[in-house]
């Protein structure tokens, strides 16, 4: 569904990504792992259009999306979450989730100012959908709270609700469990599994090996901007290259 071919990204002369190629199959969970500074977040930003890759191309459902601005890519049906949560603190939790439906809320400013009946009905439907999404993440009772007072774990869940509410074809998750405790991590893992069963395609950047090995169908390992291995969690676990470059080093420091 998503195909990366020879993606390269340089910041000045410094290569952050170098010739990365892999495929994200539809309906599966692909995990992107690698030590700090391997280029995982850069890769996610290149796919979602926040950064433009310096070489290579990204294809999404047979469409070339390299070079498209971020909002166009979002409209193709690619949603994302951010490593350092980007909620809108001034808006309520419900409104935050509703921003995930921006693409469906109508584009025309004039129509919005007139608030014609069809828009009013659409608004009602969108609100219902947003409430459903909140319900999936057990946040209904906090729907009218300002987002900034939420606890960290709740904020992460609101971001997940916002990313999934628009039924995107592909969800990019940048470290969804970073900073969560074991209990919250288990809850998020449960949600991610449920999303997978619901037919969503996920591309997830994560440090938590346990989570990755638990939910991923395919693991892609990056090291210093290069893709060093691709395979099922089992294959990756026993890949000598990975052990040496990544797990080995972790063992040494642990």
């Amino acid at each position: 569904m998503l195909q990366l071919e020879g993606i390269g990204k340089r910041f000045g002369g410094l290569p952050a990504l170098d010739d990365v190629s892999f495929k994200v199959p539809r309906g599966q969970v692909t995990a992107l792992i690698g030590p700090n500074g391997a280029g995982k977040s850069t890769l996610i930003n290149c796919v979602s259009g926040i950064l433009q890759p310096t070489s290579g191309q990204v294809t999404f459902v047979r469409q070339r999306i390299t070079g498209e601005p971020a909002h166009r890519i979002a409209r193709f049906g690619i949603a994302r979450t951010f490593q350092n949560i980007k909620l809108f603190p001034r808006l309520t939790v419900l409104e935050n989730v509703l921003t995930g439906l921006t693409c469906e809320g109508g584009q025309s400013m004039c129509m919005a100012m007139l608030r014609l009946p069809y828009l009013r009905h659409r608004e009602r439907r969108l609100r219902l959908r947003a409430m459903e999404a909140l319900d999936r993440f057990h946040l209904t009772d906090k729907a009218n709270w300002p987002a900034e007072v939420l606890a960290y774990g709740d904020k992460k869940r609101v971001e997940l609700a916002r990313a999934t509410v628009g039924n995107p074809q592909l969800i990019l998750l940048d470290e969804p469990v970073a900073g969560l405790n074991a209990e919250e991590t288990a809850a998020v893992a449960e949600q991610l599994k449920r999303l997978r069963i619901g037919g969503y395609t996920l591309l997830l950047v994560e440090h938590d090996m346990e989570l990755v090995m638990d939910i991923a169908d395919q693991v892609v390992v990056l090291d210093s901007g290069r893709c060093i291995a691709t395979g099922t969690p089992d294959e990756i676990r026993h890949n000598p290259l990975v052990l040496e470059a990544y797990l080995g080093r972790m063992d040494a420091t642990a």
Binding site: R90, T99, C103, T140, R162
Partner: protein, 352 residues
């Protein structure tokens, strides 16, 4: 009942007491559901009867001036509070609207209403031409660019004597008429200008409660996140800028027809700063706050003479204090503090 489920806090009430809502609850729910519409209706009624109780032309003149500023501030608040940008040049658009109407109706002898519309469209076009390059900037740089634009327009008004009348101003702008009915005294003008203000208020309220408005709110919150949600950030900023310029131009036309006289003094950079202060007092991103901000700053010199003589000091002081302690603006800032306090208490209760 399905419709009522749209609201989060009340949906729990509705589902547990689905058929047992008392008439009082129903009434409260109706008020809650239609709070915006009811508030606008209430305000319209108050303004409708206001001249019956207040026949002092001076006071009516003040409330008319508030209405004119409300139109500008509503547009500017969309730009500052929703698109998250800054403009220190809206007095330029306000002034272009005023001079456009003055020159159009007196020098060119055109009918007033179409002139108003054409001038607003022309100003929107100018805003587009200014906005496309200027909105690539942000923060201080954008403030400087818009300020510069204001200074250019102000200088042209001062120097282009043959057309604008130069520093002594342009007088003899006729009052607006509607089918032989001239809006030539304060009471008549009250109804005209507040109709425009309420219409703008309603349009802005509609806009911010729509999907487009949420996209704009997202833009003010975080540009990267907004783009990732599908908001075309560059376009949205330009659109709001053009809209706010057109609103300022419309207000300017009303200003010219109301006073019959325009001079460059009314459209300098200090007026622009005052408009920003009005937005800041009312609160960024608060449509209702725009009313309060415009009212407060217009009435401030009336309450105390000292505010009139040292106006710029006082306004500057207010701006600095508000931005230091309540960066979201005075009214919204306070309301938000209260909301957060309530939510935090509820969170504590929930945890206990």
């Amino acid at each position: 009942m399905g419709v009522k489920n749209q609201n989060g806090r009340l949906s729990t009430v509705v589902t547990t007491n689905e058929r047992k809502m008392t008439s009082k609850q129903k009434l409260l729910y109706f008020i809650y559901l239609h709070r915006t519409g009811l508030a606008v209706t209430g305000l319209s009624l108050v303004l409708l009867v206001y001249p019956l109780f207040q026949d002092n032309p001076y006071n009516l003149g003040l409330s008319n001036l508030i209405a004119i500023y409300v139109i500008v501030v509503l547009g500017l608040n969309l730009f500052i509070g929703y698109a998250g940008q800054i403009s220190l040049g809206h007095a330029a658009f306000f002034g272009l609207g005023a001079y456009g109407s003055a020159v159009g109706t007196v020098t060119l002898d055109l009918p007033a209403w179409p002139t108003m519309l054409i001038v607003a469209l022309l100003v929107a076009l100018i805003a587009l031409l200014v906005g496309v390059p200027a909105l690539r900037l942000s923060g201080h740089y954008l403030a400087m660019a818009t300020l510069g634009c204001n200074i250019v327009v102000h200088t042209v008004m001062l120097q282009w004597d043959e057309v604008t009348g130069g520093p002594s101003g342009f007088s003899g702008v006729p009052p607006l008429t509607l089918g032989g009915f001239a809006f030539d005294d304060e009471i008549r003008f009250h109804y005209l200008v507040w109709s425009f203000a309420l219409l703008s208020l309603l349009l802005c309220l509609n806009l911010v409660r729509s999907g487009v408005g949420r996209g704009l709110a997202a833009l003010a919150g975080d540009e990267t996140a907004a783009a990732a949600l599908g908001v075309d950030t560059r376009r949205a900023k330009i659109k709001v800028f053009v809209l706010s310029a057109a609103m300022a131009s419309l207000a300017g036309s009303l200003f010219a027809h109301c006073y019959g006289f325009v001079s460059p003094d009314s459209f300098g950079i200090f007026t622009s700063a005052d408009m920003v202060i009005m937005v800041v007092i009312g609160g960024m991103g608060s449509v209702w706050g725009s009313l309060i901000g415009a009212g407060f700053i217009t009435l401030l010199p009336e309450w105390m003479d000292i505010f009139d003589s040292y106006k710029d000091f006082v306004h500057g002081g207010i701006l600095v204090l508000v931005l230091m302690f309540l960066p979201q603006g005075l009214i919204t800032g306070l309301l938000e503090q209260i909301k957060i306090k309530i939510a935090l208490r509820r969170r504590k209760d929930a945890a206990a």
